[in-house]
Symmetry: C2
Subunit: 172 residues, 2 copies
DNA sequence: ACACCCGATGTCAGTCGCTGTCATCAGTAG
DNA sequence: CTACTGATGACAGCGACTGACATCGGGTGT
């Protein structure tokens, strides 16, 4: 992060990263599959928080409500990271390949959430659709939270955006 | 596509692609920004079809209904491509970087759709959420269509998945 | 007809991400 | 003390991508 913020992502080589960590470049690639992945080490923690939150939801909760509980749990952690999360987001936003990787990670979150919903007895199709829509709302909420440093805490924003989602997609 | 199907994406070099087209490798990179992009040349056509479909929807249609009209138009084109679309999807599914690029293109479709909805007078937030949810449904429908070559036409699958989406996200 | 220009292409050299291979060097078990 | 194992370093090499310069062909103006 120090190197990326100071010199920019593209102008930082993997050799630079390894040197800063006191390792050889080859060793870097033994810990991370590619240059991008250093920035996405924490996403696994988000996934597990959301999945556990879904599993812990009341058994009679609707799919999207269970998912909302999981997303709130993840949002609480991200909110705790505060400015660090914002700095990381700025770096990612600066580079196309990083944005693509971020989308891939979100896609992974969708898959994990859908699997957690299926575990609760939700049908495959409903689980996948809920997860896609819910995670999309989560992403919208996160962007909104990043843009307003003095705004409400992330979990609240997530709740608000999920409510908007329900309004917009309401059946006729 | 010939090279990718025959030897696989990773084992095909950009020099191979250029040679097959009768050009130098350098010239390839003057037409495409990177190796992946050859496979995503047609996505621009999809975007414009969807956007035009949204603009052409009745003025009093709800956001998600207007989007549905656009997505149906795009689906009709993809359905017409038939096996070619399926082969392309198989290549993309075989490689991580290609899957990431595909997600990025879908993200572009979301942005274009949201902009088209805003053009209709829909609020920014509602437009973005509708677009995210609708395109997610489109993707689910496409995957289902790819998996069932003898199944119903893609536009019908899109309609069916959108109906499922409305059910699942229904407000309490 | 001739000089001119410009956009597309070829060529070459170089950087950087990433990988296979082999040697080295702990620390640990026996 | 030795043998084994896991992590690391060192090195060579491939392939994606870029910058710089030369070339070529087709249209324009005179």
């Amino acid at each position: 992060m120090e190197l990326f913020v100071e010199h920019g992502y593209e102008r930082t080589t993997t050799a630079d990263i390894a040197a800063r960590a006191g390792l050889s470049e080859r060793t870097y690639f033994r810990h991370f599959p590619d240059k991008r992945e250093v920035l996405f080490d924490s996403t696994h923690a988000l996934d597990t928080l959301v999945v556990e939150g879904i599993a812990a939801a009341p058994a009679d909760a609707a799919p999207l409500d269970a998912l909302a509980a999981g997303l709130r749990a993840g949002a609480a952690m991200l909110h705790g990271l505060g400015d660090h999360a914002r700095a990381r987001t700025a770096v990612i936003a600066s580079q196309g390949e990083l944005r693509e990787r971020e989308l891939a990670k979100m896609s992974g979150l969708v898959a994990a959430s859908a699997a957690a919903l299926v575990e609760r007895g939700v049908g495959e199709a409903a689980a996948l659709l809920s997860a896609e829509a819910g995670v999309a709302a989560f992403r919208v909420a996160f962007d909104r939270w990043v843009a307003t440093p003095a705004g409400p805490p992330l979990p609240d924003v997530v709740d608000a955006v999920l409510a908007e989602l329900r309004q917009v997609v309401a059946p006729a």
